[in-house]
């Protein structure tokens, strides 16, 4: 079932690179190292690679489905499970997207409150940020993709700032290699995949790509770039911190920024966090765009109205989440759902989808 999108709203296939990559890079980058290194210490970089490789497989599965369907997850659901059950599943997917958006924004505000402004009110910042998001999403999908593109290109200079910790690097920290059991690797693998989440939104924006079949390689490149970036960060973190030190460092990336020193600037993490305002913008824009788009396709309502409703819910939810414990809980719940979604649900959907297609072909 083809989902029609007007020609002028379609985007170039190569931009999929930026959409996939920008959605994967988010608040998690500021402190993902610790959660992985708790289990596998100096071997964490291997986990980064393994997790990245499995994501490639999931992307491949998604393209298999989408290329056949030429639609989005809503039409796949309807096709496989019928109107009611399929609709319910799409609705659950929409809730997941909203929860994802809420988590990203609230976690970022927490970083702000911990590192910069301890007394900052959650709701004021959320309000202003959500207005900016509304303004961008109201410009349509092309504008959202533009935000993704600039959200990757503009903060790109930060990559070079991570070279500074190498001055104090101790490469012996990486030894011995392959010193962890499969069980430990699996546990770290689980937390690492969370950092790769976000590419699954492809299930929603697929019909917006011009000649979508050709975009597959760009999606893979986008993921590959994320893998390289995480590997780069992880290696630098591992050589800079000792394993014991790393286990006690919640925001490893931010801590590394602290040592950068120019004649005119110290404490670089302030500039880093301010740049992160631009980095998480594509995350939020894309998540809320996808959620409102799903609602539009499901209920046949105006996307603008749904968007306002979703953003209002986000604002209220953000204000209600007050302490570290509840934010942590939200984070772990949402990431668990994401984990099951990409490794459990997508393969399951793929099996059902190909089964039904085969049965229909016969009849």
């Amino acid at each position: 079932m083809k989902v029609p999108v007007k020609d002028q709203y379609l985007i170039n296939p190569s931009l999929v690179f930026f959409i996939v990559h920008s959605m994967q890079i988010g608040v998690g980058v500021l402190g993902f190292q610790r959660y992985v290194a708790i289990y596998t210490e100096q071997d964490s970089w291997i986990t980064v690679l393994i997790a990245g490789a499995t994501i490639h497989i999931v992307i491949w599965i998604m393209y298999k489905m989408l290329n056949k369907e030429q639609g989005d997850i809503i039409s796949i659901h309807e096709n496989v499970f019928g109107k009611w059950i399929g609709g319910l599943l799409s609705f659950l997917f929409m809730l997941y997207l909203i929860a994802l958006g809420i988590t990203i924004l609230r976690t970022f505000i927490e970083v702000l409150q911990v590192w910069m402004f301890p007394l900052m009110k959650t709701w004021t910042f959320s309000l202003v940020y959500l207005i900016a998001i509304y303004y961008i999403i109201a410009g349509g999908f092309r504008t959202v993709v533009g935000a993704c593109f600039l959200g990757v290109v503009i903060p790109f200079y930060l990559i070079f700032t991570f070279l500074a910790p190498l001055e104090f690097a101790n490469f012996r920290n990486l030894l011995p290699v392959f010193d962890h059991s499969i069980k430990e690797t699996l546990s770290s693998f689980k937390t690492m995949t969370l950092s790769y989440l976000g590419f699954e939104l492809l299930l929603v924006y697929y019909p917006f790509i011009k000649k979508p079949e050709t975009s597959q390689k760009w999606a893979h490149y986008g993921n590959l770039f994320t893998v390289i970036l995480y590997l780069y960060l992880m290696l630098i973190t591992l050589v800079y911190f000792t394993p014991e030190h790393l286990k006690r460092t919640i925001w490893a990336t931010l801590t590394m920024w602290k040592i950068i020193k120019f004649p005119f600037v110290e404490r670089f993490e302030y500039i880093g966090i301010a740049s992160w305002v631009v980095v998480i913008l594509p995350n939020l824009c894309l998540a809320f765009w996808a959620a409102s788009r799903t609602a539009k396709r499901l209920f046949n309502v105006k996307q603008k109205k749904v968007l306002i409703a979703i953003l209002t819910i986000t604002l209220i939810a953000n204000t209600l989440l007050r302490d570290r414990a509840s934010i942590d809980l939200l984070n772990s719940r949402v990431s668990k759902i994401g984990l099951y979604f990409i490794y459990g649900y997508i393969p399951f959907l793929f099996v059902c989808f190909s089964f039904i297609n085969k049965v229909r072909k016969k009849t």
Binding site: G139, A147, E266, S275
Partner: protein, 412 residues
């Protein structure tokens, strides 16, 4: 023109024609154009002055202006569509393009928007610019205005569309992109290395002009840890006697500069110089000595003002003047994070802008690597083989590189 239609006769006579009748009660007559065309002489451009290159600029007469363009493009494909706009002013508006090079869709957009104009009086091309631009709530100009016929000829050859208005020495160019506003015509008169460096400096100057005072306010208000000890000492000693908070201090100085600028622009040139001296030297030095502002900030604000003058298109400079203030306000609210927020608003806004329906931020977004040859840098002419993709010209090749290179070899 022989006619007996009263309405045409009236219209033509009001715009300067003679009516000749053979007999007194003839109902037919011959209309002869005999308008007196008093116009300023063609002079050197004042706003877009260049040291090298041609020094002609448009004047207030449409006929002269069309002649200036036609002289540079003596080809039959240069088409001029004329409209009469304004119920009272009956202003002649000409839309110029080269058929076969300009994109059909762009031409239709321009013709339709100019044709649809309903207003009683058009006094200048900037009226038209505001009425036909895609988003009239934006501080950014979406059409370039120029007073140089050579620039007009240049963009016509690239496939843009130019609008000339009778009574206005400024031509409008569209579709255009943000980076085009930072390119001066002089960039094409000097060699490409120098031109590229100058363009990069200009872009740097603009971002500096927008960001530097907000960063000063943000850092002094919230993030003094950012400043190393030695530099902090300089800042503290210059600010130790200032009673005002950084935000007010910056706001006052920014407004002072704006005042000077306005006063300088409204006054005759000779008095204007006096104002410059009074403002720059007397007020600046006195306010520092009186302990109202710190001299570090004075330097910063003056540099920012200087940097905003580097934009070759005057209207863009005005837009930059304006968007500094939201940045300043948000910097006072949330420090560097506030600047980040202001930045994403700006980013969203520019991403949404279009010029004649074409993306404004091109070639950055949508990313078109080929168009970068004439954006942040200007590559040599031999690499400017193709017309910009932005303009979607049906005839993409400007000249064949292969033909130009054919006879080139060592010792030949």
């Amino acid at each position: 023109m022989i006619t007996n239609d009263l309405e045409t006769i009236q219209k033509m006579m009001l715009t300067g024609s003679l009516l000749i009748r053979l007999k007194e009660d003839d109902n037919q007559g011959l209309l002869v154009k005999a308008e007196m065309n008093k116009a300023r002489e063609v002079t050197i451009p004042e706003e877009e002055f260049s040291v090298v290159g041609p020094k002609e600029s448009f004047v207030e007469s449409l006929t002269t202006n069309l002649n200036l363009v036609r002289k540079r493009l003596p080809i039959p494909q240069l088409e001029i569509k004329e409209f009469t706009v304004g119920t009272l002013s009956c202003t002649r508006v000409a839309v110029l393009y080269i058929s076969g090079i300009a994109n059909e869709e762009n031409i239709n957009t321009a013709l339709q928007r100019v044709g649809d104009l309903k207003y009683h009086q058009i006094l200048d091309s900037s009226y038209i610019a505001q009425m036909i631009s895609d988003n009239d709530n934006s501080p950014f100009p979406q059409l370039i205005d120029t007073e140089r016929p050579d620039r007009v000829a240049g963009v016509l050859a690239e496939g843009s569309i130019v609008i000339l208005v009778d009574g206005s020495p400024h031509a409008l160019i569209g579709p255009t992109t943000l980076v085009k506003f930072f390119s001066a015509l002089e960039d094409y008169f000097i060699n490409w290395q120098l031109a590229s460096v100058l363009r990069v400096i200009r872009l740097f100057a603009v971002s500096f002009s927008i960001l530097v005072t907000p960063v000063y306010v943000a850092v002094l208000n919230y993030h003094y840890e950012l400043i190393p000890k030695d530099l902090m000492a300089t800042l503290v000693s210059s600010r130790s006697l200032i009673p005002l908070p950084p935000f007010l201090e910056a706001l006052i100085l920014e407004l002072t500069i704006e005042l000077l600028r306005e006063a300088g622009a409204r006054l005759p040139t000779k008095v204007g110089q006096t104002i410059g001296i009074v403002g720059g030297i007397v007020i600046g030095t006195a306010s520092v000595e009186a302990g109202l502002t710190s001299n570090v900030l004075l330097i910063i604000v003056a540099l920012a003002a200087l940097a905003s003058f580097t934009t070759p298109v005057y209207k863009m400079g005005n837009a930059i003047r304006l968007i500094r203030f939201p940045f300043l306000l948000l910097a006072e609210l949330w420090g560097l994070i506030g600047i980040g927020i202001a930045f994403i608003f700006l980013m969203g806004h520019i991403l949404r802008l279009t010029s004649f329906g074409r993306p404004y931020l091109e070639p950055i977004y949508p990313p078109r690597l080929e168009d970068l040859k004439d954006a942040f840098v200007r590559l040599p002419f031999k690499m400017q083989e193709k017309r910009p993709i932005e303009l979607q010209s049906p005839d993409t090749v400007m000249f064949s590189k292969r033909k130009a290179d054919e006879n080139k070899d060592i010792d030949e």
